[in-house]
């Protein structure tokens, strides 16, 4: 597993890949922060009012990132689906399986490497978001005095953890799609279509479904359940169950299916 982890990082640290993915999450973080800061006095995407006093709270510096956590999730889903689906369709997986015959070890090491990479992405996105929020605070748009206090730092840490867990959740979704479709295009298309429009439509039709739909629960987890009807623990518990089911499915698919490409 450690071999597979180290090997995967050879691929993940490609300069162009790093630049592309980091740019993407940074752009998403900037977008979320700008939209949040410029929404003061108006309602956000969910119709909730955005006020300066709300942003002045200790968690105000991470509000921008939490508001667009679903976009970070989609980036994570796409990255995982592209990497694993690409390994299937491009034939690099067969090379790796010849070098590492244990499919489960390869899967575990690869997942750990990608998971650590997603954590880096979330960290970068959070850093960009907090930094931009501090710039707005310095400009006097909002009061950021509480953000760098102990409570504020704790909120940043909590947002980091929640963001990483959410990204991993989306990553598992991408991994499942890649294992099922064994190609990046189909995996990304189906994964994103499910996470964004499909669940959103279902959630608007049935509000109670937000307590059960995986992507809705991942959003709630990323936001620390702030503003969501489902509690943090409830979301985490259900996501753990979904995750276990998904991982079991992935393990069976990867272990049992022929590698034909």
């Amino acid at each position: 597993m450690i071999r597979a982890f180290r090997a995967e990082w050879v691929f993940l640290r490609r300069p162009r890949f790093l630049a592309g993915t980091l740019s993407a999450v940074s752009a998403v973080a900037v977008l979320g922060t700008l939209l949040t800061m410029f929404s003061v006095g108006r309602n956000d995407f969910n119709g909730d009012p955005v006020t300066a006093s709300r942003l002045a709270l200790p968690d105000g510096s991470v509000q921008g990132l939490e508001g667009i956590s679903i976009l970070i999730g989609v980036v994570a889903l796409s990255i995982v689906a592209a990497i694993v689906g690409g390994d299937y369709s491009h034939g690099t997986l067969r090379n790796q399986l010849i070098a590492q015959p244990s499919r489960l070890r390869l899967l575990a090491g690869k997942s750990a490497a990608i998971g650590s990479f997603l954590a880096v992405l979330v960290t970068v996105a959070l850093a960009v978001s907090v930094a931009l929020s501090l710039l707005f605070a310095a400009a006097g748009t909002v009061d950021g005095s509480a953000w760098l206090g102990l409570a504020g730092l704790r909120q940043i840490g909590q947002a980091e953890l929640n963001g990483i867990l959410s990204a991993w959740g989306y990553g598992v979704l991408g991994l499942l799609a890649a294992a099922v479709f064994r190609g990046p295009a189909a995996a990304i298309a189906v994964g994103v279509a499910y996470a964004l429009p499909l669940e959103a439509i279902v959630a608007r039709i049935s509000g109670a479904s937000t307590h059960w739909l995986p992507a809705q629960l991942l959003d709630a987890l990323a936001a620390g359940s702030n503003g969501y009807s489902v509690s943090y623990l409830e979301a985490a518990g259900r996501l753990a169950a979904y995750g276990a089911l998904a991982v079991a499915t992935i393990v069976v698919l990867v272990h049992r299916r022929d590698v034909t490409s």
Binding site: R6, N95, Q96, L97, Q100
Partner: protein, 588 residues
């Protein structure tokens, strides 16, 4: 392709295999199947099959790839080569059958893949990574250090371009990088799937040289291709499949011998073509008009070694030749004809090759049983050297190796004598000839020179007799002038019950030499017990008593059971004591 691809191959392989037995490394693969897990097989399968939703991709093939072989895995596109290789590598699960790679079952790929390198379906790498980083990724997966990467890059001549992105590589460079990836673990077994696909001629030559070097250093190389002509040039062992079924498996010479070599000749005047054909047919040669060239040309089904004799026969008949050239079908043409691709007769051709494979494997089994003796495994677990089609195909092949009736004089016997001196005696009291300058244990002497020596000599006083061995052994026996039995490897039966010598043979103790491609036969009727000459059996009476010299025409002793045979140096007809010969054969 840039740079020498083979510069350091010997280095890497020598380091890898320094401790190995050279004898094993150089051992000529025989396509011999042994019991399961036998040390002499790198790949063994038993009824390995793969079916996709009712469609049979591989229909139960039995492979036996010897260790140390440079083995070609040939079949047209869609024949099932890659599917078979994927099963061997543990990438896909067989629908049925068993297999072992390097002695380990394919259900446990971790047991053998660390000692195996492979490139399947062409090189596949991350385009955004450099060649070195791609190898580094795979090296890390195998737990290898960077030294292995440098070694592999050096082996394929890619060191200078290693830092460049793979997306900038030419196809040839990608192929070499793929081979480098396969070489990373310094494998015992190298499996390459179509390694020369898309390469230019220079690149193909480099890959060929690389594979030869690897195999020469002791690595087992199993290389697939849809081009038989391609593997013909580098492989010493062949596996041919078609539509998921095994058509042939064995030494390349088995198939080469089936190439039906022809000599195209043309008389000075076209009008003499018919007469020339009659003369040649009178010597038992198969002659037919050469359809492709016309102009009175004839195609004589005979090996290259007979060219001079054809000329001699024609001259003796008063016919001058204006053209004489040798045509040997390529392995690919032979294969295509055998499979009916050229004639539009599929099925029949497959039977031909299957029969050939059956005979070859039957011979391999016989050899294996003789050599291994008690290793025979009655449990049924061991791999069986079954030809495709099993016993039926084998039974179909074997009768062709029985004695064929002799309907006329033996036409020619191209076993060349090089020692016959004018008027020399072949009697036991003849002087020791061990210091002769033209002993046949000098295979480096050109055939032409040998022929000249033989032609210059007087008619050999002693005929040479060649007989087919029992079918399973696929060899011939021949007597020398002392009545000794020697062995000549025969691998292929041609129509009219002629046998082709697979490889040049020479015996140092007797004066017998046969060139590769020489033909034996057809054979006479086995004489009856009343033919007498029982005392002539070399096993009964010893060499001195049964010296064929006693039966030479100069002795005027034309006994029953003797058949005339053409002395192909002189055109005269010495006498063969076939009873002696056949008794010796029966007593084997």
């Amino acid at each position: 392709m840039n740079g020498p691809a083979t510069g350091s191959v010997t280095g890497i392989t020598n380091r890898r295999h320094a401790s190995r037995s050279r004898a094993r490394a150089r051992r000529a693969p025989q396509g011999r199947a042994t019991r399961r897990g036998g040390d002499d097989l790198a790949i063994w399968t038993d009824g390995l099959a793969k079916t996709y939703r009712g469609r049979e991709a591989v229909g139960g093939i039995d492979l036996a790839v010897p260790r140390g072989a440079l083995s070609g895995f040939v079949g047209p596109n869609g024949a099932g080569k890659t599917t078979t290789l994927r099963m061997l590598l543990g990438l896909i699960r067989p629908s049925s059958g068993r297999a072992q790679v390097l002695g380990a079952p394919i259900e446990q790929p971790a047991a053998y893949l660390p000692r195996l390198g492979a490139m399947i379906e062409g090189p596949t790498f991350h385009a955004g990574l450099s060649g070195r980083d791609n190898l580094r990724l795979l090296a890390r997966l195998r737990g290898l250090d960077g030294g292995a990467v440098d070694e592999a890059l050096d082996a394929v001549g890619l060191t200078e371009r290693a830092a460049h992105g793979v997306r900038d590589y030419s196809l040839g460079m990608k192929q070499r990088l793929g081979i480098a990836a396969a070489l990373l673990p310094r494998p015992d077994l190298l499996i390459l799937d179509e390694p020369t696909n898309g390469l230019d001629p220079a690149g193909i030559r480099e890959i060929r040289a690389l594979l030869k070097d690897l195999a020469g250093a002791g690595m087992t190389v199993f290389v697939s291709s849809h081009l038989l002509g391609e593997v013909e040039q580098i492989c010493d062992h062949l596996v041919i499949i078609r539509r998921g079924r095994l058509l042939f498996q064995g030494h390349v010479t088995e198939l080469v011998a089936a190439a039906d070599p022809r000599i195209v000749i043309a008389p000075e005047r076209d009008a003499d073509a018919g007469r020339l054909a009659e003369v040649l047919r009178g010597h038992g040669l198969a002659v037919e008009p050469e359809p492709a060239s016309g102009g009175g040309r004839l195609a004589v089904h005979a090996p290259e070694g007979l060219a001079a004799d054809l000329n001699r026969i024609a001259m003796t008949a008063g016919l001058a030749l204006r053209e004489l050239r040798v045509h040997r079908r390529s392995l690919e043409e032979t294969f295509l004809r055998a499979t009916g691709e050229l004639d539009g007769e599929p099925g029949e051709g497959e039977l031909k090759l299957e029969a050939l494979a059956a005979g070859a494997l039957a011979g391999a089994v016989a050899d294996g049983e003789q050599a291994d003796g008690a290793r025979a495994d009655d449990s049924g677990d061991g791999p069986r050297a079954q030809a495709p089609g099993g016993e039926a195909a084998r039974a179909e092949a074997e009768p062709s190796f029985e004695m064929a009736p002799l309907t006329g004089p033996l036409p020619w016997l191209p076993v060349e004598r090089v020692d016959a001196a004018p008027g020399r005696s072949n009697r036991p009291d003849r002087p020791d000839r061990s210091d002769r300058p033209d002993r046949p244990d000098r295979p480096d002497r050109p055939d032409r020179e040998r022929s000249a020596a033989g032609a210059a000599s007087a008619r050999p006083a002693t005929p040479i007799v060649a007989l087919p061995a029992p079918p399973a052994q696929r060899s011939a026996t021949a007597t020398d002038d002392d009545g000794k039995w020697v062995w000549a490897p025969l691998t292929w039966e041609r129509p009219a019950h002629q046998y082709v010598v697979a490889e040049e043979f020479a015996t140092p103790d007797i004066d017998l030499m046969g060139p590769a491609g020489a033909l034996f036969g057809p054979w006479p009727d086995p004489p009856t017990a009343t033919d007498g000459a029982a005392d002539n059996s070399p096993t009964d009476s010893g060499p001195a008593d049964n010296s064929p010299t006693d039966n030479s025409p100069t002795d005027g002793d034309d006994r029953p059971g003797e058949k005339p045979i053409l002395d192909w140096h002189t055109g005269e007809l010495p006498v063969v004591d076939w009873t002696t010969a056949l008794r010796g054969w029966r007593n084997r």
